[in-house]
Amino acid sequence: MVEIPEHLRKRAEEARAKAAAKAAAEAGGTAGAGAEMTDAQKSAAAKIPPHLLERSKAAKAAAASGTDAAPQAASAAPAASTSGASATPATVGSAPVATGPGGHTQRLLTVVKSGSIQDVKSVPQDKVHVWPHLLVVEFAAALFVTAFTTIFSIFVNAPLLELANFNETPNPSKAPWYFLGLQELLTMFHPMVAGVTIPGIGIFLLILAPYIDKNPSNKPEDRKFAISLMTVHLMFWAVLVMIGSFFRGPGFNFVFPWEAGLFFEL
């Protein structure tokens, strides 16, 4: 399932090719032969603009005709040509003082890459293809749930009690399980508070949650209060639902299911 993103793979390949070329060039440089130098130049020629190549050639010719030792100059020349700055010809050649070989009065000092002083907005993200990585997982999850529901349905039947009868109230009468927390609140508060006010405020607060919580971080260690608050309420709610489901017997009185039995239908 591990897939290297396209852009990272390309970048790594380029870096590898560059490193190989550099190693080859260095091997040529240490050998110190003039013929090797031209090879290194050829490999670099693809990247160096022609006018810079011309300039470095002129510089090399000047150096060779000058008094400097030939191998030393030869090793200095490629370095100068790759960095794009040719300082040697000004001191050695016949050109006027303080100008380049072509009569230039300016030179390239350095190249500032974007990102070093500017903030680059679009950071490449580590992404994977939806097919197969996501779709396979989703398909497996869907198959699992279908299988679970089918097998569960083969062994456990949905309840169907006797025909509805207005004259016979079951004791206890319970709401569906997800409303049993509310029904449990009915034992403590006035029906308007338990049945309308509390769930209404609850849903309203849930809707407002993103506008109340101004903390921009999504890291658990920065959100201790929010997480505690939510956990307390979820647990409170779960406990109410469980009490309403399993611990309420006839007359909605508190009972222990292991003593009085279950009064619960799904």
């Binding site: 994977v128 949905a158 006797e162 509805a164 009468s173 997800y178 308007m192 919580d213 999504n218």
Partner: protein, 265 residues
């Protein structure tokens, strides 16, 4: 000698059959009908190879593109991050639609007929009992997965900007799920259904000022009866699913517009 020749004949027959089969497969895959069904990049199309370009086409050139982008953040495909809860909720909704349509063929929403229809469905319709069980258990499961999905989203702080409004839609969908389940609860018209709904609607009757009116609109009268059954049936099979589908479409669309799912933490 005779045995040798037999062997020599048999082996080519096998080869010939496999050749014929592969030729048939090729012809079918190369046919106009086949390539009109499966668009370029489909994994079923002739000559599909696993390449980054084709992986993109699988999504981009299929109906899946309405739901998924071509690529997602690497952490988004980890099961341990989402637990698949949102996707499972959607899948359960589809499962409930399919089983629900099956049930609709055998059910009349009147006080006189409803219970008998369910009873006959279980007793004499092929797979009737199984499909009704699946509908019921999938419904309870969906309420559960919606709750868990909400908790998961909260604990990941995924409701924070720019996803605030998608959280709001999510809460609406949670409410719609509860209403869908609750309206379905009445339909079997047995003692469980009648009295669970009585408890529920009595609570809603305590709405301040408008209590009696709210209860009257919900029940289609002063008491639960055959009008309530029809009303809740229409809500359950048509209106609430319709509204839910619209909100789901916005929900999924916003997930993509807000930059995919949240995280990593």
């Amino acid at each position: 000698m005779a045995i040798d020749t037999d062997d020599e004949i048999k082996a080519p027959v096998k080869v010939r059959i496999s050749e014929k089969l592969s030729k048939l497969g090729n012809d079918v895959q190369g046919s106009q009908a086949w390539s009109s069904i499966f668009r370029p990049g489909s994994i079923f199309r002739k000559g599909y190879t696993d390449s980054p370009r084709n992986r993109s086409y699988v999504i981009m050139n299929s109906v899946m593109y309405h739901l998924h982008p071509v690529k997602v953040k690497r952490h988004a495909v980890k099961v341990s991050y989402t637990l698949c809860l949102g996707g499972l909720t959607f899948f359960l909704f589809i499962l409930l639609t399919i089983t629900g349509i099956f049930l609709m063929f055998f059910y009349r929403p009147t006080a006189a007929a409803a219970w008998d229809d369910i009873y006959n469905l279980q007793a004499s319709v092929t797979f009737g009992l199984l499909v009704r069980n699946m509908h019921r258990w999938a419904a309870h499961l969906m309420v559960l997965t919606v709750f868990l999905h909400m908790a998961r989203v909260f604990y990941h702080g995924a409701y924070k900007p720019p996803r605030e409004f998608n959280w709001v839609i999510g809460v609406i969908l949670l409410t719609l799920t509860l209403l869908l389940s609750f309206t379905g609860y009445l339909l079997p018209w047995d003692q469980l259904a009648l009295w669970a709904v009585t408890v529920g609607t009595n609570m809603m009757g305590y709405t301040p000022v408008l209590g009696d009116q709210v209860r009257f609109v919900l029940l289609g009268g002063f008491d639960i009866g055959t009008d309530t059954l029809l009303r809740w049936y229409v809500l359950h099979v048509l209106m609430l699913p319709f509204v839910a589908v619209i909100f789901m479409a916005i929900h999924f669309w916003r997930v993509r517009k807000d930059g995919g799912i949240s995280g990593p933490l």
